[in-house]
């Protein structure tokens, strides 16, 4: 088989694979601009993925936005996710660096605990977490919503793995030049570790953006509700909400995620490759 043919087959394969992931997204976006009857009429035909402009309408968006304050919920989620990412990156990377580079008693034991905690699902810890946050009188506050998720054992572990590869010689040289631990971390380690920060930042952002259970447990004020809680409310409204509205809501909620992926895709791949996420 010659090289040209191999390359052609390769591109054909990755095009098919890409379509497998892209087509459902196309269907969702296109369906959000159709009425329900057309969505199901087109299902199973090529028109599920290719627009017929005469059938497109923004009616579902108008009706959805009249009924639900979806942008307010998206804004709330954006704020919560941003705070969780910024503070979480600082705390988790410092912890990961300490585990990678410092010598202190019980370091390995702590690491074992961290790895062990990674396998405990959130559903198993949600009730004790609620009881603790409730005891601290933080239920129904933004602090109660955000504080439990600022530290993340998985992120600490990933940072540790990444920082293990950081050359000790560079750290020694920086110390000779007079930098302390924090100076070394923020002036030397942090700037050269951007890929892992971007990767973990995106993972954290997505986790926060998609979180449903904890916000329901921690909040009751509708003004503070994040987008996933709003989406569930929308889905359960069988009187006003139908397929086209659901597609419109999902399209709006997916847009920020797609933008983030497009902006940071290079860093995501690099970070994933170097930290062992892949």
């Amino acid at each position: 088989m010659n090289t040209k043919l191999k390359r052609l087959l390769f591109y054909l394969l990755i095009t098919l694979l890409s379509l497998l992931f892209i087509l459902p997204l196309c269907w969702m976006i296109l369906s959000s601009f159709k009425i329900d009857e057309t969505i199901y009429k087109d299902l199973g035909t090529v028109y599920a993925f290719i627009p017929r402009f005469k059938d497109l309408t923004i009616r579902s968006y108008q009706e959805l936005l009249n009924l639900y304050h979806i942008f307010k919920n998206m804004f709330n989620s954006l704020i919560y996710a941003s705070i969780t990412v910024v503070i979480g990156l600082i705390i988790n990377s410092l912890a990961g660096y300490a585990l990678a580079k410092f010598k202190f008693p019980f370091k390995n034991l702590i690491l074992i605990f961290i790895i062990a905690l990674m396998i405990v699902p959130i559903e198993a810890t949600i009730l004790p977490l609620y009881l603790v946050v409730n005891q601290l009188k933080l239920i129904n506050t933004i602090y109660g919503l955000l504080l439990p998720f600022l530290t993340n054992v998985m992120n600490i572990f990933l940072f540790r793995q990444y920082f293990l590869a950081f050359p000790n010689e560079l750290a020694e040289a920086a110390k000779i030049d007079g930098l302390g631990h924090f100076g070394l971390f923020f002036k030397i380690v942090f700037p050269v570790s951007r890929p892992i920060y971007v990767t973990i930042g995106i993972i954290t952002f997505l986790a926060s953006w998609n979180d449903f259970l904890w916000p329901v447990m921690a909040l009751s004020n509708s003004d503070l509700m994040p987008i996933q809680v709003a989406l569930n409310a929308i889905f359960s409204d069988r009187y006003n909400i139908f397929t086209s509205h659901i597609m419109a809501a999902l399209t709006l909620v997916t847009i920020p995620i797609i933008i983030i992926y497009i902006l940071f895709q290079k860093h995501i791949i690099e970070g994933a490759a170097r930290s062992g996420i892949k």
Partner: protein, 461 residues
Amino acid sequence: MKKLVIMFLAVVMVVSIAGCTKKTNADDKIIIWTQASPDHPEGRMFADRVDAYNAAHPDKRQVEIQNFTRAGAGSGYIDKLNAAITSNEVPDIFTLDGPDVASYADSGVIGTLDGIIDSNFVNGFTDAMIEQGTVDGKLYALGYQDSGVAIMYNEDVIQELPQEVKLLIPSMDEDWTWEDFYKVTEAIQQLRTNPETKDKASIKNLELIVDFLTSDIPKGAYEIAMYYLTPLFWSNGGQVVADDGLTLDEVLNSPQNIEALVQFGKFFANDYAQAIEPEKAFHTGKAAMAVAGFWYISDLEKNYPSLKFRTVRYPKMDASYTGNFTPSGSWAFVRSNRLAMDNPKTKEVVDVMEWMTNDEASAEYYHANGAIPGRKQSISVIDTNTDNDYHNEAWSVLKYQVENTNKARPVSVGYPYLSETFARDIILKIAQNKVEDEETIKQYVKDTIDKLNLEFKKYKK
């Protein structure tokens, strides 16, 4: 850099302390939790109702409502509720799905309303609503709405049937049987091979004859099976579980139930129904008939205006059966057992529950969210004199059923597991394996009983 770190830690501490808030579950207020999201029309209608109470009763304890969002069958809200129970912070009033009332009553989380609530007020509810809220003869829950299921058919398809088959389909105020229902589906299937009819648009479009929504079961909506199909048992003189809520032997596997399941299996064995149906099969004309919940009506009216949908009553297994049997039930208000019966606040709590479920509230909920009233006096608010005949017919059928034949789902402390196992191990298996022979169905039921008995051991005292 050290200064920066110290400042950061200081900010975190200040923010944490500032986050401390006053405990909300104070005794000077009555707290209500519901499963309806604050932005949902249902959540808004509850909030409006509470505002009206507070305005009408300025001299009494004020009511504070907190609406939470539920996902699917109730997760999210139920997790929150269970956490509150664990931390002994149960709200004064909260909502539960009808079939879950028994397990909360059994565990002592909710208190009875007997001896506090006015019996005339209770008598204003339909039989199904009272039945749904009653456990071991005591009333615990007040439903704020009912629900209903009927049979819908596509008029364009039915018009193609021979006259003698058309006569099997009743008018909206007549009863009919599952046997007649089956004969109609059999005749529709023949239209698909009849050279005179098979190429007509309404027939050509058909992919199945009747839509049972069984495809909801693998998606995790197990309750649909119990909700849609227990009426087959009831209308044949059977039951899912005995009155003690735990005995299954000679109940779930009774000859009446097996006969009903064989009838159900015939639809799948002969390919008139499919375990996994196309989405919105009836709405899009891919199914000629549907076992249709009340939520179909608004969807069909708003989104499928060209579909000529007709509605008839839910069929009986045994034509001579006279008891209640049609699908019913929804979420209901209950009170926490935290307050003693002689506590003056308990009476006020029950008064608030009455306010949230009385005739006026039921009418308001219907207008706000299309909720079917669960009170006899309020059922008349359902408008059956619109200019849409399909709407009028569908709601007339459902009104009749709510008033006369609706029946609450089984009462059992182990209901969630019972419902899931019934759906997965009996209904889905029959549908997927296209089973209609009695012996196989008996085996499915036996295996299910064995499985359930193991689980129910822990409830048997």
